[in-house]
């Protein structure tokens, strides 16, 4: 069960429907691993419903009622049960939808000998939404961020100076935190990362790459 969770602040914005799409997708993916956060969200949603019921009603004319009544016989849009693709195990359906296949079918950009990144298209033009593949025991060079970074562990795990993180764990870092995550020795680690500014490597060995690390939002 996940040990690291989004703050109540973030969950409130998520439930109220005001988080940017890419961040919202990351939180939604975490909820699929985390019954506690689902329950917390359900309560925050109850709060929304209570506020909704206490709005001052704005009159709606009969014309609109009649328009809706006339449309009741329309064929409803097809609905389907979201299926889990066994090839990608227990990944949240939302991610499967964006990936359109399993991890091996994605196109991976090799950044260092132990880090590859695959960019997924969400339609959110302000945030990069990407999968990071870190080889077992591999290290992401020490880096910092100019913006915020959400991370969700999808497979394996990693650790940094602040702790160690496993499947379903969620981390949110604000701008200018510096860290150097290392994948656990036992298996490769795959994380989802949502960024609004590109990584900046801080060590001399990788700093030359910074100009090439553009944000790939979209």
């Amino acid at each position: 069960m996940a040990k690291f969770h989004p703050s109540v602040d973030l969950l409130t914005e998520y439930v109220a429907g005001i988080l940017p799409l890419a961040q919202s997708a990351c939180i939604s993916a975490h909820l699929n691993y985390c019954p506690q956060c689902q329950q917390q969200s359900a309560r925050l949603q109850d709060l929304g419903a209570v506020l909704f019921e206490s709005l001052t009603p704005v009159p709606v004319g009969d014309a609109l009622l009649n328009t809706v009544l006339a449309r009741l016989d329309e064929e409803p849009p097809l609905s389907y049960r979201r299926a889990q693709d066994p090839a990608v195990g227990r990944l949240p359906a939302l991610l499967q939808r964006l990936m359109k296949g399993d991890f091996s079918e994605l196109s991976w950009n090799k950044i260092t000998s132990s880090l590859s990144i695959s960019y997924l298209k969400t339609g959110d033009t302000a945030y990069e939404f990407a999968l990071y593949h870190i080889k077992a025991g591999g290290r992401i060079p020490e880096h910092t961020h100019r913006g915020s970074e959400m991370t969700l562990v999808l497979q394996g795990g990693f650790s940094d100076a602040a702790g160690s993180y496993h499947e379903g764990d969620f981390l949110f870092r604000e701008a200018s935190d510096t860290h150097a995550p290392t994948a656990l020795q036992s298996e490769d680690c795959i994380c989802l990362a949502v960024l609004d500014a590109p990584l900046r490597f801080t060590g001399w060995k990788y700093r030359w790459m910074n100009p090439f690390l553009q944000l790939r939002a979209g």
Binding site: G17, A42, D46, F52, A93, T122
Partner: protein, 206 residues
Amino acid sequence: MKNAGATVEEKIDSASNGWQGPTGRRTDEWSECLTQIAATGDRAAFTRFFRHFAPLIKAFALSGSSLSAAHADELVQEVMLKAWQKASAFNPEKAAASTWVYTIARNCRTDMFRRLQKFDTPLAADDFMPDQEPSEPFAMLQSRRSRDTIHELMGTLPPDQAQILAKVYMEGKSHAEAAAELDLPLGTVKSRVRLAIQKLQIQIDR
């Protein structure tokens, strides 16, 4: 099912206090009404449902004045049509009708914002709902208590906290936008939200 309408009216009369029976099945007026719509496609029931909820959905659409009156009407239409089409998926043991309608309205409004901003995304707001919702009786009981508690405690919130909640939930303002609008530091907005959530006993241990 010919006298079904009358039966429902009787049930509503006998259960106007909200809860009934150890199963905790919801028997409030609008949950009954929605169940009736699902069971028999009753248009009279739908009309009552519309007259109650459409003005709330319109108010929700217009809060924060981010949608025009025409878009607000379009949203009302979309939400009510969805309520009709999805009525059979409503489970009165899991949620109150008002929570169910609020969720549809929120998702439709989010999708409408994204359409208006010309987002080119493969995702709709419904896709963000968790794959499986908690179904254990304990979780459902908690949820029912939570909603009633929130309802009762709402009146005890200081106005500045209630105002921020309305901005975030109804007007769809982020904490940062609410802070800019009220000319308050972001930290103050966040702490008011947190205090309100504590007072309403919403926070759980995670």
